[in-house]
C-alpha cells in the first residue's frame, strides 16, 4: 500500500484525515491554483502515486505548522507535506539510493561511515606518500591545496552530474507528465528570475508568518543564514581553496567570507539541533532519522572546519592536519549524499517555485484561450 510506504517517510496519521479543509484554509501559501495540504492528503489517501509525483504542492509548503495546530483530527498535515517532500526526493532520484536511505536509517549511517573511512584511508595514504604531517601548506605539505582543489572539483563534478540528472527528471515529471496542456518555451525565460530570487531570499518562507504576530520569523532568518553560509562555503571550497588554505597569515579578502559563512552555519545548525531537541515549535515535534543525520553531520563539518582553521593559524600544524582529514572525511560523504538526501531541497525548492510559476502562467493562458475562443461545433 502506498500509504504504508509513506509511513516509513514520516506520514503516520494520514488515515485520520476526514477532509474538512481547515488546513487549506489556514495555510498562508494555499492559493487558487495550488491548494494544499488537504488535496495532497486526499491524493495520498486514495493512493494516487502517479499523480502525486507530478505535484509541486509539497515544495510550496515551508512547514510553519499552522495546519497541524488547527487540524481537528490530529492528522498532522504539515508532517505529511514534509514526508511527501522526502518521498519526492526519493522519486526524483533515479538510482534508488535515496529511497534506501530514507527507509532505513542504518543503511544510511553505514554508507556514510563506509565512505568516510574510504576517504580517510585515501587521504592518509596520499598524505604520507608525498608529505609530512607537520607541514600544512606549501612544499611537502600533508594535504597540498592543489591536490585538495582537484579532489574537490572531482567530488563536485560527481555531485553535479547527479543533481542535474535528478533536476531533469523532476522537470520531466512536473512539466511534461504532470502538465496536461502546452507550455510555451518563452514562459520559461519570462519566469527565470524566480530561480535566483527564491534561491537567495526564500521569501515564501518568511510569508509563513504573515498570519501570526511575530515581527521576524526566526526559523526563516536562521535557515536563510544557514543556506547562504553553506553556499558561500561551497563556492570558497570549490574555487578559492588555494587562497583559503594559504597561511598562516589571514588573507582578509577571502577569509572574511569564510568567517561570515561560518557564523551563519554555526548559528543555523545550533538553532535547528536545539529546536529538534526542545520541540517547542510544532514543525520540530517529529524528527525523521534523516533529519538527525543531516544536522549532526553538518555540525561535525562546521566544527572540524573551524578547528583546523584555528590550529593552522596558531601554528599547530599536526592537529591542523589531523582535523583537516576528519573534516574531509565528513565532507565527502556529505557531498556525495547530497543528491539523495534532504539537502537536495537546496536545488528542488527554487526549481519548484520556478516550475510552479511557469505552470501557473501556462494555466492562466490556457484558461484565457478556452474562455476567448469557444468551440462552436455547429
Amino acid at each position: 500500500m502506498f500509504i504504508d510506504e509513506l509511513d516509513r517517510f514520516g506520514a503516520e496519521d494520514v488515515q485520520l484525515c476526514y477532509q474538512c479543509g481547515d488546513c487549506s484554509t489556514v495555510c498562508p501559501h494555499a492559493d487558487e491554483v495550488y491548494k494544499f495540504p488537504r488535496k495532497s492528503m486526499r491524493l495520498l489517501q486514495m493512493g494516487l502515486e502517479q499523480k502525486l509525483e507530478t505535484t509541486l504542492e509539497p515544495w510550496l509548503c515551508y512547514y510553519c505548522g499552522q495546519c497541524s495546530e488547527q487540524c481537528p483530527r490530529d492528522a498532522d498535515p504539515g508532517e505529511t507535506m514534509m514526508s511527501l517532500r522526502r518521498w519526492l526526493i526519493s522519486r526524483y532520484d533515479f538510482t534508488g539510493i535515496s529511497r534506501m536511505f530514507f527507509k532505513s536509517r542504518i543503511t544510511e549511517v553505514l554508507a556514510i561511515i563506509a565512505v568516510a573511512l574510504l576517504t580517510g584511508a585515501f587521504l592518509i595514504y596520499y598524505g604520507l606518500s608525498g608529505g609530512s604531517i607537520s607541514i600544512y601548506d606549501g612544499e611537502g605539505a600533508f594535504l597540498p591545496s592543489t591536490f585538495i582543489h582537484r579532489f574537490d572539483l572531482t567530488i563536485g563534478a560527481i555531485l553535479l552530474v547527479f543533481l542535474v540528472l535528478n533536476a531533469i527528471h523532476m522537470w520531466y515529471l512536473v512539466m511534461i507528465k504532470g502538465t496536461p496542456f502546452n507550455v510555451p518555451w518563452w514562459l520559461y525565460l519570462k519566469e527565470l528570475y524566480q530561480l535566483p530570487w527564491h534561491f537567495f531570499t526564500q521569501k515564501r518562507y518568511a510569508d509563513c508568518e504573515k498570519k501570526r504576530e511575530h515581527k521576524v520569523y526566526m526559523p526563516w532568518l536562521l535557515h536563510l543564514g544557514l543556506m547562504l553560509g553553506y553556499v558561500t562555503m561551497l563556492l570558497l571550497v570549490m574555487v578559492f581553496i588555494e587562497q583559503l588554505q594559504a597561511g598562516p597569515a589571514i588573507l582578509w579578502r577571502v577569509h572574511i567570507f569564510g568567517y561570515l559563512a561560518s557564523v551563519g552555519l554555526i548559528a543555523g545548525t545550533i538553532y535547528f539541533i536545539r529546536s529538534r531537541f526542545k520541540k517547542h515549535y510544532i514543525q520540530y515535534k517529529k524528527s525523521h532519522g534523516t533529519d538527525w543525520v543531516f544536522v549532526t553531520l553538518l555540525f561535525i563539518i562546521v566544527v572540524t572546519g573551524i578547528a583546523q582553521h584555528v590550529f593552522h593559524r596558531t601554528g599547530l600544524y599536526e592537529p591542523a592536519n589531523i582535523t583537516y582529514v576528519i573534516h574531509l572525511m565528513s565532507v565527502v560523504p556529505w557531498l556525495l549524499r547530497m543528491p539523495f538526501s534532504k539537502w537536495a531541497h537546496l536545488i528542488y525548492r527554487p526549481l519548484a517555485m520556478y516550475f510552479s510559476a511557469v505552470r501557473r502562467e501556462a494555466l492562466m493562458r490556457q484558461v484565457s484561450i478556452l474562455n476567448s475562443y469557444p468551440v462552436v461545433v455547429k
Binding site: Y18, Q19, C20, G21, D22, S24, T25, V26, A30, D31, E32, K35, R38, Q70, P72, R73, D74
Partner: protein, 600 residues
C-alpha cells in the same frame, strides 16, 4: 438428559474468561462434555456429529456472544446423528447482557439455565422490593415534561424538579423545529401548561436534588428549593415590579443577547406563570435589606417577600428519571472564529434567540449596533430593533464537535439546525447571501435529507469544506474556506457568522452521577445500560435516563425516549412483582430458580 456444552466464541470478549465458564459448566448436572470450539468460520459438521454420537448427547448448548450464528451447523449435526433438533439451546452472553462487573456470574448463570433448558429471562427475574408509586423527574425540559405527562396521565404521582424558574428548557428558546418548521412554542407551551395544571404533578422549580439514599423501589430524596421571593399562587404576572426594578443584567433565557431586570419572568408563557427574583443581582438581597426594595412597595398583590429563605423538602419516590439536558460548549477558546472579539460572531443559541419572534428584535435578523453604555463609560455592541439586516451570513458547522481538541463526538443536531437557520435567514432577509460551511452533511432522520435538498434549492451557498479562519478588515468580516466540491478556495465577506457549537452535558451531570451512582461515558453523558437493548435504563435499578443527558439527540428522539422511559416506570409500578435490577440477582438465586422451573 445427557448434555453437551459447546463454546463458540470468536474474537475476544474482554469481560469474559471462557475457560473459567467452561470449567464451571463441567460441574453442572447432566453435562457430559464441555468443548471450546474456536473455529472460523464454522465448526466442522462431521466432527460435531461424531461428538454427539460418541457422547450420546440428547441436548446441546451453544454458548458464546452470538451462538445463533452457529445454530444451523449444530442442527444439521444433530439431525445427522438422529437426535432431537429441538433440544439445541443457545446461551447468548451478549443478548442477556453478560458485561460489566458481574459479567462472569451472569455468563455462568446463562449457561446453567441453558443446560437445564430453562429460558434465562424466566429464571433471572429481578425484583422483590416493594415500589413506591411516586416518581421523581430531574429536569423540566421537553424530556422531563413528556415523561411527567405520560406518567401523570396514567394516574401516578410525579415530582418534577427544575433548576431554573420555569420549565420548558432549551426547546422554549427555539423558534422553529426542523425539518417541519413547526413553531416550537406551539408544541411545547400546551404541554407546559398541562404540567402546571396537572393534579398528579408536583412542580418544584428553582430546586436541586442534594442527596439521594435508599434502594430501587424506595429512594429518599432531599431537594433544596431556593427562595423565589414571589408567592407563586398570588402573583398575577402584572409586570409592575419589573417596571420599577433598577437592576439590569443579561437574560439567561435570551442567551445573553438582551437584558432583564432583577425581578423578572423568563418568558411570558413561563410555567409557573409567576415572577421571581434573581438573588445574585437584586440589590436589596445583595445589600442585606439596606437598599432598594421598591418592587415590594409597588406590588399590588403584596406577594413579594425579599426575606424568604431556601427550604429543604424530603420526598420518597420509587423511580427516578434523569432528564438534565445539555449546554453549549464554551467557544471562546476556539480562537480562529473570533467569538468574543468580533461583535457579530454568534453562537447557535444566540442566533436562535435573535431570530425568535419573541426575541429582543421581535424576530428581525439584524447586525449588532454600537451603543454607549453610561455605567461602564464605553461603547457596547448590542442588538436593537433599529439594527441593519445583514447582507450576507456565514454558518459554520462542527465548531468544537468532531474535533479531537474539544469534543471528539458528533453533536448530531448542528447540521440540521444550521440548515434551519439558512431557511429562516432566506425567509426573513430574502436578498441576503447565506453560506454554509460543512464537513459532512448529517441529515439522518425522516424528512431530513429532503429538508437539506430544499435548503440547497432555496439559494443557500452550501460549501463542502470547513472554515477555520475568520478575519476582520476595516470592519468587514471575511470567512475563508475551501470549496472542495468546486475545487477552489473561497473568501466571503459576511456581516454575521453563526457558529454551530458542539453540545456538552449540563454542569450538574457529574455531581448527579456521583450522588446516584450512575456511570458516565468518556464524553460525560450518562451511560445507558445497553445502547441497543435498553437505551433508557441505567446500571442502577429504578433510575432511567431520557433526552440529551444520555447523548445528543434531536427533539423527536428526545420525546420518543421520554415516552419510553414512562413506559418503563409504569411497568415497574403495575407489574406487582416489585422493583429490582438484574445486577442485584446473584448466580445462586438464578440457579435455584432455574432448578425449580426445571423440575416442574
Amino acid at each position: 438428559m445427557r448434555t453437551g456444552v459447546f463454546f463458540c466464541q470468536t474474537g475476544d470478549n474482554r469481560n469474559l474468561n471462557i475457560d473459567a465458564i467452561a470449567k464451571y459448566s463441567a460441574n453442572l448436572p447432566d453435562v457430559e462434555t464441555v468443548q471450546i470450539l474456536r473455529l472460523k468460520p464454522l465448526p466442522d459438521l462431521v466432527f460435531l456429529r461424531e461428538q454427539i454420537i460418541t457422547h450420546k448427547l440428547g441436548r446441546i448448548v451453544i454458548a458464546g456472544d452470538i451462538p445463533g450464528y452457529y445454530k444451523p451447523v449444530f442442527t444439521r449435526a444433530m439431525a445427522m446423528a438422529g437426535g432431537d433438533t429441538d433440544e439445541i439451546h443457545l446461551a447468548s452472553f451478549q443478548e442477556h447482557g453478560a458485561k460489566g462487573e458481574n459479567a462472569m456470574d451472569r455468563a455462568k448463570a446463562i449457561v446453567a439455565c441453558a443446560t437445564m433448558g430453562v429460558p434465562f429471562p424466566l429464571a433471572a427475574i429481578p425484583g422483590g422490593n416493594p415500589v413506591n408509586h411516586a416518581t421523581l423527574i430531574i429536569g423540566g425540559g421537553i424530556a422531563g415534561i413528556q415523561s411527567a405527562l405520560e406518567i401523570a396521565n396514567a394516574g401516578k404521582q410525579v415530582f418534577l424538579v427544575e433548576q431554573t424558574g420555569t420549565i420548558g428548557g432549551h426547546m422554549a428558546m427555539f423558534d422553529k423545529t426542523f425539518p417541519t418548521l413547526d413553531c416550537a412554542a406551539c408544541i411545547l407551551t400546551p404541554k407546559m401548561v398541562s404540567v402546571g395544571q396537572h393534579e398528579m404533578i408536583r412542580l418544584l422549580t428553582r430546586s436541586k436534588v442534594v442527596a439521594v439514599s435508599g434502594k430501587p423501589g424506595s429512594y429518599r430524596v432531599k431537594i433544596r428549593q431556593s427562595a423565589r421571593f414571589v408567592d407563586i399562587n398570588a402573583c398575577v404576572a402584572c409586570n409592575q415590579c419589573a417596571e420599577v426594578c433598577p437592576v439590569r443584567v443579561k437574560s439567561e433565557f435570551d442567551a445573553g443577547i438582551s437584558l432583564r431586570k432583577a425581578i423578572y419572568i423568563p418568558f411570558p408563557q413561563a410555567v409557573p406563570n409567576a415572577y421571581l427574583v434573581d438573588e445574585k443581582s437584586c440589590s436589596y438581597i445583595l445589600s442585606e435589606g439596606k437598599k432598594c426594595g421598591v418592587c415590594v412597595k409597588k406590588c399590588p398583590k403584596e406577594c413579594i417577600n425579599l426575606n424568604e429563605k431556601d427550604h429543604i423538602t424530603d420526598i420518597e419516590v420509587g423511580n427516578i428519571i434523569l432528564a438534565t439536558g445539555y449546554e453549549l460548549l464554551d467557544v471562546s477558546p476556539i480562537e480562529q472564529y473570533g467569538y468574543g472579539t468580533f461583535p457579530n460572531v454568534l453562537t447557535s443559541i444566540e442566533f436562535e434567540r435573535l431570530t425568535n419572534a419573541s426575541g429582543t428584535t421581535g424576530g428581525r435578523i439584524v447586525t449588532k449596533t454600537k451603543q454607549f453604555n453610561r455605567k461602564l463609560n464605553k461603547d457596547e455592541w448590542v442588538f436593537s430593533p433599529e439594527g441593519v439586516p445583514p447582507r450576507s451570513v456565514a454558518l459554520i458547522h462542527c465548531v468544537g464537535s468532531r474535533n479531537k481538541k474539544y469534543n471528539a463526538y458528533c453533536s448530531r443536531v448542528c447540521c440540521m439546525y444550521s440548515l434551519k437557520f439558512a431557511h429562516l435567514i432566506k425567509e426573513k432577509v430574502p436578498n441576503a447571501n447565506v453560506y454554509e460551511f460543512y464537513i459532512d452533511m448529517r441529515a439522518f432522520g425522516k424528512g431530513y435529507e429532503e429538508f437539506a435538498e430544499r435548503i440547497k434549492q432555496e439559494g443557500t451557498f452550501v460549501v463542502r469544506g470547513h472554515s477555520a479562519s475568520v478575519t476582520m478588515v476595516d470592519g468587514q468580516m471575511a470567512v475563508r474556506g475551501e470549496d472542495i466540491f468546486n475545487d477552489r478556495l473561497v473568501e466571503f465577506k459576511v456581516d454575521i457568522i453563526v457558529l454551530a457549537v458542539g453540545l456538552i452535558p449540563s454542569p450538574g451531570t457529574e455531581e448527579l452521577s456521583r450522588m446516584l451512582g450512575i456511570q458516565r461515558d468518556t464524553d460525560g453523558w450518562f451511560s445507558e445500560l445497553d445502547y441497543n437493548g435498553s437505551p433508557t435504563d441505567t446500571d442502577r435499578g429504578g433510575i432511567f435516563v431520557a433526552g440529551m443527558c444520555q447523548a445528543p439527540k434531536d427533539i423527536p428522539d428526545t420525546v420518543a425516549q421520554a415516552s419510553a422511559v414512562a413506559a418503563g416506570v409504569l411497568g415497574s409500578l403495575t407489574s406487582g412483582k416489585g422493583i429490582g435490577h438484574m445486577s442485584s440477582v446473584t448466580l445462586s438465586e438464578i440457579e435455584a430458580r432455574a432448578k425449580t422451573i426445571h423440575t416442574i
